[in-house]
Amino acid sequence: MAVTETEPARRGWFEERLGLDSVRAFLRHKTVPRHSGTMWYYFGGITLFLFLIQVATGILLLLYYRPSPAEAYESVQFIMTRVEFGWLIRSVHSWSANLMILTAFIHMFSVVFLRAYRRPREVTWLSGIMLLGLALAFGFSGYLLPWNTIAYFATKVGTDLAGDVPVIGPWLARFLRGGDQVGGGTLTRFFGFHVAVLPAVTTVILGLHLALVQKFGISTPPKVEEEARRTGVPIPQMPFFPNFFLREMIAWYSALAVLGALAALYPWELGEKADPFAPAPAGIRPEWYFLAPFYTLKLIPSRVWIFEGEVVGIIGFGLLALCWVALPFWATRRDGSERTRLVTGAAVLLIAYLAVFSALGYFR
């Protein structure tokens, strides 16, 4: 686009090199459907915001953290007691990780209830599910890093479960632990996953997810589309910039307020340093987002017919996860009609299962 003589020379300099007018034009034409479910659109952005906070605080923690059994606990203790605002950085990092997983789940279920997984957004759904899986992997690997008692034994239980995966289980458990037992090898390995492998993979998948969201725009629920067709009134649209953007900012600032309050009023505890030779303390349980499958596995008898109970559980969870990942492909019939009731029923059941079993796992 040509630069007129009346525009400031500085803007012309940037325009010539960055092509900002095309960005402005894109933003001017990008709109977001406005309906009763618009508020659910903000959760994807909040999840992204919390991820960015973790990247920033994670880099700051890296300045002091030392990934070895002899120093890990002490280095986190040092961060919390000696480093200026270290307590805040660590607390914000831990709380934002948990809030991010919560908002990612809310975002996923809102996508299901608003039917945003439909054609042509199947790959967007798949990339989103991958990002949720990566968030859980971030949580699992990061949980061990302070090298405290609860984290040590929870990782022991978690990697034991990985060992029950059919065929590759023993190899997988050994790969995760870097040996036969959870130890120094596991800590350095988890640290490597947490700060290098997972961020690299997440960056690529996140880039793909955001690019697809831009390419296909924000989905409108079929109910809203049908209403517009029936009444002949076009679906109200909200300009992305500044209207939606400003609302998203309010959501981000609200998330920041909640995060700050949690971090300041309930600083993340450090607990006791892990002692591999001590007996496992009572009440060992994983992070809240793993509680439902953890409690379910506890309920399964040690033998189911001729199979080991835990193996049956792992296979069951694997098949369920596969069904959930493939949701866009079975939610639409060959004639193009939607299996709306089936999808809604499956989502409601899944939410009820996660809520009830997580609560049971926490309180029992």
């Binding site: 805040l88 400003l246 600032y253 009023l265 600083p267």
Partner: protein, 411 residues
Amino acid sequence: MKPLLMLLVITAPAWTKDTCLECHAALEGRLGKPAEQFKDDIHAHRGFGCAACHGGDPSSADPKVSMSPSRGFRGVIPRRQVPEMCARCHSDAALIHRFKPQQRVDQLAQYRTSVHGKRLAQGDLGVATCADCHHAHGIREVRDAQSPVHPLRLPETCAGCHADPKHMKGRAVGTAQFAEYRNSVHWKALAERGDLSAPSCATCHGNHGATPPQVKSVAAVCGGCHALLEEMFSRSVHKVAFEQMSAPGCVTCHGKHEILPPSPKMLAGDGSVCASCHESQSKGARAAMHMARRLAELQAANERSGRILARARQSGMEVSEAELRQREAADRLVKARVAVHTFDLAAFEAPVKEGLAIAAETYRSGEEALRERDRRRKGLAFSLAAILVTIGGLWLAIRRVESAPPGELGR
């Protein structure tokens, strides 16, 4: 006799039947009970049968043959002969070695030195013999929790006779020992904390050689566990003074069976143990009062620091380093209590001063943690206010944008 016994044991697994058990199991009451109890007996598990003690021929189903004196049948073992009867095997090192190489074989020799053994030899059949403590037909290993001589059950087993006024009538010892012991720190450690190393009756009196410790041996008995205290006491001025007074060492102040948790009240105040010998305003009484005051001072300082650190922790503050340091102050309190037994003010003051200094330091850490908590909360309040103002500004901006004419959008 012994070769025959060995033969019985060695061939035991080959027996196809034990007619003693078969017949007695079918009987009721006094004659049937031994067969029922013997199922759980350690001797039965090791291949011994009834005949090992009672003699007879267990291979014959004819009572006239199996219980014939010509086959060595002895019937009920007379009470006076019980120790010797058990000792036929238990004093035989070669035999015992086959089953439990580490087990001692001097029980009979010890028993003969005990009050029980001596009185039995004098014809007193009311004293304990092996079967009274171990049972006659349901004998279990000492480590078996159901054994009457398991550490957790031993006090009650001894009390079965020693707390029974009818049984103890006419004997020199009283019957209050068990009731007193149940108030003691030793019982609490044993029964409430499940610490099997805590002392019960046999720890101080001996088991097979059970005898009350004499005046001169009390400190040695207590010193078996409390070695440091015994050493301090034996170097102190009280060692000589107690000997001159014929006072029996540790129990003079702490009591015998009812050993209560030590407290500064033992040193000073009405009914203190020191006041029973030292007149008020005497040098000894003044030293005791000083010790009591300093111990109370250190304990109060520790509790004060503990409370503030607990408050800081409950507020989410990281105070584990200070709490670790606080444990050192608690250690100093223990050391100071121990140092009382030197009865030397200089030796006593050293841990007290150290403990007070540590407690003051940890209290300051607790205060600083609470100040830091308050700073954080103020910081949070300011941050939340700033965020709220920003959200308000954003909301106003949205309203301004959305109230503008359509043509204005995007400018």
